[in-house]
């Protein structure tokens, strides 16, 4: 198996575990959003089927890294998650912007109050991490025509960039009413720049910047979860009215994706 182990697990086992965790986290927010809209379309159940299979497959592949059946299952679940995420993106775009009153003329309004446009792509990205994990566990050194390390760091950069954009829109909707709402625009945004820098011109300074900013992004994820929890507390009734405020408050688990992407990036930099 490729890479250096950390507490007995190889890099792609870590990637598998982190893929499963991130998928669980994003399904939590997807459930809140789809439940809030009343599951009006059967397609709204799709991410839970695809995501659920991806979680199981990623865990199995990490636990049994040498098993061919686990690798095959992860590959299948990864492709299913990618397809579901892309189709979900099209659904969110169509029903969240095109079909809404005002359509594209009210684009900013739709982006803020409609279905989160980039959220389904997080599932697609988790699927891509699953595919890379399956390839890596099978001993592959290339992914989508790139060296595995570069490919994974590029996926991390894309993931963090998407999370920054989505949080920027939603925090703008919240009028940046707390200074901490600027946090996703600081270290995570700089981490994307550093990752691109390290990919284009690898060097010690670029790598050191990537490491520092990925650690900072990991912490931003936890700070975000704490602040979103505080956000529930600021809603009428706080967590005593937990279900209502979970549905109407800030997305509970979204900041954890920052921590998840950063953790994948750190595992790649340190171990691969």
């Amino acid at each position: 198996m490729n890479g250096t182990p950390f507490i007995g697990l190889y890099p792609f086992q870590w990637t598998g575990l982190l893929t499963a965790t991130m998928t669980l986290v994003l399904l939590g927010d997807a459930f809140a959003g789809h439940y809030r809209s009343g599951f009006v379309s059967r397609a709204q159940y799709a991410p839970f089927v695809a995501g659920g299979l991806l979680i199981v497959a990623a865990l199995m592949a990490s636990v049994a890294p040498g098993a061919a059946w686990a690798s095959t299952a992860l590959r299948a679940a990864g492709w299913l998650a990618v397809a579901t995420g892309v189709v979900g993106f099209a659904f969110h775009h169509y029903y969240g912007i095109a079909r809404k009153p005002g359509g594209y003329k009210w684009l900013l309004h739709q982006l803020m109050y409609g279905a989160p446009q980039l959220a389904p792509l997080a599932l697609a990205l988790a699927g891509a991490f699953g595919l890379a994990t399956a390839r890596g566990l099978a001993g592959g050194t290339q992914f989508v025509g790139m060296e595995m390390r570069t490919a994974l760091l590029s996926l991390v950069a894309v993931g963090i960039a998407g999370a920054v954009l989505q949080s920027a829109v939603l925090h703008y909707r919240g009028a940046f009413n707390n200074a901490a709402m600027y946090a996703p625009l600081t270290a995570p945004a700089l981490a994307v720049v550093a990752l691109v820098w390290a990919a284009l011109a690898p060097g010690r300074l670029a790598l050191a910047s990537v490491l520092i900013l990925l650690w900072a992004t990991l912490l931003v994820g936890f700070v975000g979860m704490g602040m979103h929890l505080r956000g529930f507390g600021r809603q009428m009734g706080g967590l005593y009215v937990a279900l209502f405020n979970w549905l109407e408050g800030p997305p509970a688990f979204a900041p954890a994706l920052f921590a998840g992407f950063a953790a994948v990036g750190l595992s790649v930099v340190y171990l691969l």
Binding site: L219, M227, R230, Y240
Partner: protein, 199 residues
Amino acid sequence: MRRPTEEGGTVTNLKRALKLVKFGSPTHPIFVHYTIALTSASLVFDALGFFLEKSSLNAAGLWTLVGSCVMTLATVSTGLTSATRAPVEEGEARSFLRAHMALGLVFYGLLVAMTLWRMSLWQDGHGVSWPYLTALAAVSFVMTAQGYLGGELVYRYGVEVEQSYRELPGRPATSPAPSLVAPQGSSALAHPEQRGEAS
């Protein structure tokens, strides 16, 4: 007068004792002590191991920190459960609760990062260093602030405590509910004597 939860009589047999077992009490205060004790112990063990150059103390520092990281998951989840059961009205107490909730996850993030750092040191066969000890001391300070907020919630505002304890036999239950949690006369939590309903 007996509290509503008091069924009366001395417990004299196991069957009756089992009937009285309830899991309604908050478990957050139990797990909190694991987090505080294990993190503090890790700092002390690692600092002593560093100054006295004893590898056995460093090993204890590593495993207590790993233990803290695992147990704190339970601390955070039971804390969330407690927050969903606390009917705290808007005001000073709820501000404490919000700060406590936010800082809790910030602390957990720092703890996870410190644990990963500590485990990488262990894997590479390195001992702890000044920067590590300083960082762990800073994280312990955050934990202390977090513990203070939690302590104030319980001991100043009575969150999950007031109206939950059982009165001693023969002693009238006259303690008023704290006004910041349940303002007098405005809530069903207020004691009957305060509402003029006592017989």
